[in-house]
Structure formats: C-alpha cells, structure tokens
C-alpha cells in the first residue's frame, strides 16, 4: 500500500466543507508557513522536496519559483492552471471536486512564498460545477480568515479568484492561459519573455498545475526533506494518475512512484487488470500527447529492466523506446483496439484544438487528420505513412507552443511502434473495415542483446 498525501482524506464525509477539512488538520501548512517561515524558506522547502510540475513537463517547481522576477513595486501573481483538457487526464477535477480546500490551502501557502496578493484559478469552462465548489470553498476560507487582508495577523494579504475558461485545450498552455485570463483570444505568446518575468498583465507570474500547488501542503507540513524521501530518484512525492481505457477499475489513483507499470495495471489495488480476459496491446502512460507504447516496451525498457511508474523510468530510452510521465493520464488499450483509429481520434482532437496562429500546426494537424482518416477507411496508400512521418517531423519543434509537438508525438509514436498495423490497413482495406489487427507481436518479449565482450 503506497503512501497517500493528497487523497488520504478525500473520502472523509463532508471533507469539501471547511469545518470537516479543518478538523482533519487542514490549513496547518498556512499556519506553519505564515507564523514560522519566511517566504524564501517556503520556496527553499519546495526546492528541497524535489517536487516536479504535475502538469506534464515535469519541470522542478522550486526552480520555477526561484526564477520569478521580483522588481520593486510590481505585483506578482500565482495562477493555477486548472484547464485540464488533455484527453485521458482527469486527476485535477477529482482533487478539486472532492477536496477543494486542499488546493486553496496550497494556493495560500504558495502565494505567501511568491508574494502574490491576488491569485487566480483558471478552470476550464466544462468544469462548471467544480468552479462552483471552489468558489464555495473560497468563501468559506475567507469567512474564516484564511483569505483577505492581514491573514493570521501576519500582514499578508491574499485573495483567490476563480476564472472560467470557455473550453479551449490551448488555454492550458501557460501563456495562452494568461492571454485568456486577461480577456483576450487564447493565443500562446512568443517566448521569451517567460511568464516568470512578464506574465499576467506584464507582471512576473508563476503558472502551476492544480496538483503541484496541492502538493505544497504536505511539503510544508512534513518538510521538504521528508517529502523527498517518498518516491524514487528525481521522482519525489506522490503522483495522481487518472487511469482509463480497457481496465477493470478506471479512476484516479495516488501512487508514490515506486511501483512498476505492470503492478499498476494488474494489481487489484490499482487498475485491476484488463476486463474480459483480453490482453494488453498498448498504453499511453501520460495523457494523449505523450508517445504510445506497445505492451512489450511498456512493461520493460529496451534494456530489459522493469519499467516503473515514475518520470525517469517512463522516459527511459527517449522517444525511440520510451514515453513520458506527462500529466498522468494513463490510457490502456487492449487487443481489440485499433491503433490507426485511435491515432486518428487524437489527430482530430489536435486539429480541432490548434489555435491557428502558426502555420505548421494550423495546417499540419488538419492534413494529418485527413490522411489518417483515409488510411482508417481503407483509402490509404503506403506512401501516406511516410508522408505522415514527414509532416509530423516538420511540425515538431517548429511551432510557437508545445501543442505542435503534442500533435506530432502521438502520430510519430504510433508509426514508430505500430507501422505494420498501418501497412496492414493500407494493404487489406476491406478486411480492415471488418476486423481489427489484434494483438499480433506487440506483447512479445523484447530481445535484449547481450553486450559482447571485446
């Protein structure tokens, strides 16, 4: 049984209300931080904890806070990114819905560390009811003196506002989020300048994921060094994984990043295996943008080691044989799933969500979708597969924001690992309309060559 820090109390009846949350030990981190620590000490604890951004990129949070410019007389902002729109990722919704005060507590502590007197939660419009839960919790916190002027008599003012997005995936990109928060069209900004220097309304801003900010609470309560003891290597603490797809028990799980992928999929504590006696074919371990892996590479790295559920192990082998932890959207595909169809769905999503600002992403995503649709419906050519590869290569890295990369990676990985399934679709167009390619060799044990002694 792994250690739980965020969701430990998530199912205490009434935990969404202030009374129960406080009774269960809530807001201790605010008391500790404001009464016994300086803002820099709080940042130092977060640095010591080794906490990495939970939104997808895995950038060390303490370092990000350290980059925040602090010019005199200019306000600073903390913005929490709750625009959780990645297909397969729904961990932040769970956290905000069941235990909203945890996010608010983390935000007050983080705001204190960063010197933000006005902090924002940018929440996706589709989470309308979650926004109401958050607003209710904020009102309760304010009524009990945790928000507003002169919190705990320590001279620190802070208020939190919830801002609803209008349903755009791109607004989860931090600079597009800031544009949207300013009331403009959600187009990503060209970096540099980075938000840490020029963010919201031109002021230094830190944009953090919901889970990242919530993790500040246990870090302050237990101390950064204690937090860093949980987990493995540079993957410290616990991580929320939203598991979905062909598994017996889809849902949000908190793991301490010491378990293997195999254990996560098959143990009853987590996903509970694959239903109806089917076999594991492939998995996207970190939300729709990260590369898909076939079963054999998912469970073992190319070196033959067991793949673990943490940042380093999932990324082992780079994009050639590895993937990414991403935002923790764990999508499992069994042997009745069609990778071509699946890749088409993702391409359609990215085409729809591209902001249209820069040409490779705007035009390339639509082109990839059309070609994939042709292959899926039996009108494809073998040369289309190479064309797809060339298109994704010309999108990746050539765009303003990472959406271009996010659209290119799933297509690249699907072709890299499942090329024969694409070819089968092209060569057997009629058969491909009637049945799926199936598991084939994707779960076969990988051959690890023995190092030859010279």
């Amino acid at each position: 049984m792994g250690r739980k820090l965020l969701l430990e109390k998530a199912h205490v009846p009434g935990i969404a209300t202030y009374e129960v949350y406080r009774r269960e030990g809530g807001y201790r981190s605010v008391e500790k931080a404001l009464q016994s620590m300086s803002p820099d000490q709080v940042t130092e604890e977060v640095k010591k904890s080794g906490l990495r951004g939970r939104g997808g990129a895995g950038f060390p949070t303490g370092m990000k806070w350290g980059f925040l410019a602090k010019p005199e007389g200019v306000p600073r902002y903390l913005v929490v990114n709750a625009d959780e729109s990645e297909p397969g990722t729904f961990k932040d919704r769970y956290l905000m819905e069941f235990i909203p005060h945890l996010l608010i507590e983390g935000m007050i502590t983080a705001s204190y560390a960063l010197g933000s007197n006005r902090s924002y939660v940018y929440i996706r419009g589709e989470y309308a009811w979650v926004a109401e839960i958050l607003e209710k919790a904020i009102d309760e916190a304010r009524a009990n003196g945790w928000l507003g002027k002169n919190i705990l008599g320590r001279g620190f003012d802070c208020d939190i506002y919830v801002h609803r997005g209008a349903g755009a995936y791109i607004c989860g990109e931090e600079t597009a989020l800031l544009e949207s928060l300013e009331g403009k069209r959600g187009n990503p900004r060209i970096k540099p300048p980075f938000p840490a220097v020029k963010g919201l309304w031109g002021c230094p801003t830190v944009v953090n994921n919901v889970e990242t900010v919530a993790a500040v609470v246990p870090i302050i309560n237990e101390g950064g060094e204690e937090y860093a003891k949980i987990g493995m290597g540079k993957s410290t603490g616990t991580k929320l994984i939203s598991a979905c797809g062909n598994i017996n028990k889809p849902g949000v799980y908190e793991i301490d990043m010491t378990i293997s992928v195999e254990e996560f999929i098959y143990s009853d504590e987590y996903c509970g295996g694959i239903p109806a006696g089917k076999k594991l074919k492939a998995c996207i371990p970190g939300g729709s943008s990260v590369p898909i892996l076939p079963a054999n590479l998912l469970l073992k790295t190319a070196k033959g080691e067991t793949r673990m559920m943490n940042y380093e192990s999932l990324a082992d082998g780079g994009f050639a044989t590895g993937s990414m932890m991403g935002s923790g959207g764990f999508i499992v595909l069994d042997d009745s799933q069609c990778v071509v169809r699946h890749t088409y769905s993702l391409a359609r999503f990215y085409r729809h969500e591209s902001c249209g600002q820069c040409s490779p992403c705007r035009e390339g995503t639509g082109w990839m979708e059309k070609i994939l649709w042709n292959i899926e419906t039996g009108k494809g050519k073998i040369s289309d597969i190479d064309l797809l590869w060339d298109i994704q290569r010309k999108i990746e890295g050539n765009t303003i924001c990472p959406l271009g990369d996010a659209a290119a990676w799933p297509v690249a990985a699907a072709i890299r690992h499942f090329r024969d399934e694409f070819e089968w679709h092209v060569l057997h167009p009629q058969e491909a309309q009637q049945r799926n390619y199936g598991l084939m060799h994707y779960a076969d044990p990988i051959h690890v060559p023995n190092p030859v002694m010279a």
Partner: protein, 374 residues
C-alpha cells in the same frame, strides 16, 4: 520601431551565415540580417517592422542559432523565429548555410500553400504577392496534398475593401493595423485552427480613414482594393512616386498609372515590401489619398518608383531597378558559387535589351555568336 538604427546604444556583434555585423543591442536577428541584405535575409510573411507585436506566427523566418552568445556559446535546441529573437554579443546564426533551416522552411512553405488556392493567374495580387515570391524561392515544385482546400465566399468589408478569406494565410497583420492605426478594431480572427478566419463581428462594415492600410500590409490577395480589383495587372502599370499636401497623413504615395490614368494609389514600400518611413514615421496613408484622389492632377509627380530587379514589375524596363546586394561569395568565405552551366555559352538571353529590338524577339536574336557558324 525595432528596425530603426539607434546609434547611441552600444553595438553587439553577430555573425549570420559567416558574415559578421555590428548592430545595436535589442535588434532582432531578422533586422540584423536585413542590414546585411541579400540572400542571408530570412523571408517574413507575418512580421512587419512597423506593427508592434507582429511576427512569430508564420515560421518562415526560422533560423538556427549555432551559438547563443559569447557568454553562453551553447546552440539553441530548436530553430528560432528570427523576427522575434534578439541578437546577443557573439551570437552565431545559420540561415542559408543550415540544411535544417532549409528543410524546415520548405516545410513551412508547403504548409502555407496547403489551403491557399494556386490560381495566381486569376488573382489580383499576382506579381506583388509575397507568398508567390516565397513559394518561388523556398518551395518545392509540387504539392503532396490531395484533399479539397478550404474555401470561403468573398466578403465586402466596408465600401473599399474586399476580403477573400480563401487566400488568407492568417498572418494577423491586418488586425495589428486595425489595433494600432484606427480608433476601433471591428474585425479580427474568429474560430481557431485551420477553420480560423478573419472577419468582422458580425458582417460589420469597416469604416475608418486608415483602414485602407490593411490592403498594403496583406502579404497575399486576401484583402484587395475594390477600386482597383481587376482593372489591370500590376506589371502593366507604371509605379510613380507622388505626393500631395494631405491634412490627415504624410501624403507620400506610389501612383500606379497606365498612361496618364491613375489606376491605384498605395503607400510607398521599401525593399522588404513594408511601408517606407518618412522622417522616422511609418508612411501610412489615409483613405482619401488612397481611394478618392484618382487623378494625376491631384498629385505632384516626383518620378519613377524604385522597383526591385526581382519583381515581375521590372519587366517594364524601368530605369530605377534596385539590385539586391550579392552576399553569396561572402557567405562562402570568398569562394564564388560553383556555376553549373553558363547560359551565355549557348545563348545571349538576358544580355539583349528587348526594348532595343525592332520587332518581336526570335530565337535568332538569342543564338550566341559561337553557335551561329554551325
């Protein structure tokens, strides 16, 4: 106005394609390359030095930064948009000397042309279209796109401007013009991705005295002058500099004449296709000058306009042809580019002044003297 040189700022040395230049700190790579000129200047479809905030979107100006600066000589991991990246002391930039850049740029051109109709012969912008030039210089000979292009109905936005969204490449320049030159912007980008479109909200007329400048900044034929549409091909017209005393704008324009008739009035453009600056201010012109003063009597004619040697308009044999600086030998460290074949060994083409011939040119006029004996 980042392109203007300010000599009081200490300079930084930057090397672009083996050519080192000293520019004021804060200059972008693109503007530094423009100061060198010639082939080392990256193309730009969305950047417009006179419009604040423009650039970074089209990705045609991507360059490779082989060394970030003297202090931190690491290369930048990705290609960067040269229009929005400032130079640093000791920065080493590769543009035409980088295969990565050339490949990425060819890709961008292909992307830009995916949904752009290839009907230049019937497009009013042909001959002065930046996308046409870009495709010619950096594109591939064919397309790999096999699907229908997106199309839109033509739309009149106001009495003077027609919007044909089918041709738009979403450079956002016209929205910056509306933001920065007019009192109130009534048009913008609706929707997103490849279904994004420039439009007024909703079918409002654009009515502003400086709205005509949107036509000048449009790199393609998406925004065209309704008073000139299909009156003439640009290469049959004669560009002439002229001015008048205008209470609203600088009054310095280019008249596009056929005989004595003024077919069109535009702002004066520099060699990058941007509106020229006059006394440090961009020479935007007002709608009165642009649309209402269509008689030669309204203007004081200054003389023939400068025309780039590469422009199709130059086929009219103007005297004031602007030849871009030859930078290739310098890029190649003094070596001359290897000539695959000298056309003049077999033909006198391009050496013969066509206007001097008594009648139409024939094959005989081009046969070189060495061939004539055979």
């Amino acid at each position: 106005m980042s392109s203007e040189t300010n000599n009081t700022v200490p300079g930084v040395k930057v090397t672009i394609d083996n050519i080192t230049i000293e520019v004021p700190a804060g200059t972008t790579i693109l503007n530094a390359a423009r100061q060198i000129g010639g082939d080392v200047t990256p193309p730009a479809m969305c950047y417009y030095s006179k419009l604040e905030g423009s650039g970074g979107k089209c990705r045609t100006c991507l360059v490779e930064v082989a060394a970030g600066s003297t202090a931190d000589p690491r290369p930048m991991p990705k290609l960067v948009a040269s229009c929005r990246t400032g130079v640093m002391e000791g920065m080493v930039v590769k543009n035409i000397t980088s295969d990565k850049v050339k490949e990425a740029r060819a890709g961008v051109v292909e992307f830009l042309l995916l949904n752009h109709p290839l009907d230049c012969p019937v497009c009013d912008q042909a001959g002065e279209c930046h996308l046409q030039d870009l495709g010619y210089e950096h594109g591939k000979e064919g397309t790999r796109y096999e699907f229908d292009r997106r199309t839109f109905e033509k739309e009149d936005i106001g009495p003077y401007i027609q919007l044909h969204m089918t041709r738009c490449i979403l450079c956002y320049r016209c929205t910056y013009v509306a933001d920065q030159l007019t009192d109130q912007r009534v048009h913008g980008v609706l929707d997103r991705g490849d279904h994004a479109e420039i439009s007024t909200h909703i079918s409002k007329a654009i009515d502003n005295n400086f709205s005509g400048n949107m036509i000048d900044v449009c790199p393609v034929g998406a925004l065209t002058d309704k008073t000139f549409r299909f009156k003439n091909r640009v290469w049959f017209t004669k560009p002439v500099y002229a001015h008048r005393d205008c209470p609203d704008c600088c009054g310095k324009v280019t008249l596009w004449q056929r005989g004595d008739e003024v077919l069109r009035v535009t702002a004066r453009k520099d060699q990058w296709g941007e509106v020229c600056s006059h006394e440090g201010k961009p020479g935007w012109i007002c709608n009165t000058c642009r649309f209402d003063k269509k008689s030669a009597h309204d203007w004081v004619i200054e003389g023939p306009a400068d025309v780039s040697r590469h422009s199709v308009i130059s086929q009219g044999h103007y005297q004031q042809l602007q030849t871009p600086k030859e930078t290739l030998p310098e890029v190649m460290g003094g070596r001359a580019p290897k000539l695959m074949m000298d056309i003049h060994e077999v033909s006198e083409v391009n050496r013969i002044e066509l206007s001097q011939l008594p009648g139409a040119a024939t094959g005989k006029d081009f046969n070189s003297p060495t061939d004539q004996g055979k």
